[in-house]
Symmetry: C2
Subunit: 116 residues, 2 copies
C-alpha cells in the first residue's frame, strides 16, 4: 500500500454519513467520513466504536451524558453502549470498524462501504 494522507481524504467525499475505506488493519476497515447534523441512536453489540476527529467538532451523545470532541480528539464507545454522534456545523472523522460493521448498527439501514 501507499501512505494514506488522512486529512485530504474527506474532501474527496461528497455525501455526509457515507464512510469510505482508506486502509485495512487486522480485519478492520479504516474509514473517513463527513458528518453534519444528527445521526441515529444506535449501538454495536459486537464491537467498540472508534472515533478520531480530523476537522470540526462532534458531540457523542450517550444515554447518561455526552463527550465533546474537537480536532485531534479520540474517543472509543464501548460495544453495546447506545450513542448518537452530532455535528451541528459539520465534521470529518477517522473511524475504525471490523469489516462489514453496519454504520447504523443494523444491516437493514446501513450504507454500503466502498474504498476511496
Amino acid at each position: 500500500m501507499d501512505a494514506v494522507h488522512v486529512f485530504e481524504k474527506p474532501g474527496r467525499v461528497s455525501d455526509h454519513w457515507t464512510p469510505k475505506i482508506v486502509a485495512q488493519f487486522n480485519g478492520h476497515d479504516i474509514l473517513v467520513v463527513k458528518i453534519k447534523g444528527e445521526f441515529v441512536w444506535h449501538q454495536h453489540p459486537d464491537t467498540d466504536d472508534f472515533f478520531f476527529v480530523l476537522k470540526g467538532h462532534v458531540v457523542i451523545e450517550l444515554r447518561d451524558g455526552q463527550v465533546e470532541l474537537g480536532p485531534g480528539d479520540l474517543y472509543v464507545v464501548p460495544k453495546g453502549v447506545e450513542h448518537r454522534p452530532v455535528a451541528k456545523e459539520g465534521a470529518e472523522l477517522l473511524l475504525i470498524e471490523p469489516e462489514g460493521t453496519p454504520n447504523t448498527g443494523d444491516p437493514e439501514t446501513a450504507v454500503a462501504k466502498h474504498w476511496i
Copy 2:
C-alpha cells in the same frame, strides 16, 4: 472514558521508543510514541502494524523499498513483513497493536507498555 487529546500526549513522554497506552479498542492498545533515529528490523507474525504520524517525518524501511510518512499520514505494515522505522530528526506517532504485542516483535527485547 474521557476524550483523548492525541497530539498533546507525546509531549508528556520523556523517553523515545517507549509506547504509552492512551485508549483501548477491540482487544487492541492505542498508543503514542516518540521516536528518534533507527529502530531494529523486526516483524510481527500475528498482527498488522498500524502507524499514524502526529508530528515529524518517518521512513518505514522495507526489505524491498521504503515508505515516507509526514504529519497526518497513515500506513499499515502487513503482518509478517519485515520493517524498520527511521526518524532522523524525531517524530511522534499513534500506534494500534493487539494488547500484549512486543514492540520489537520479540518478548525478550520488548519494552513494557504503560498508560499515560
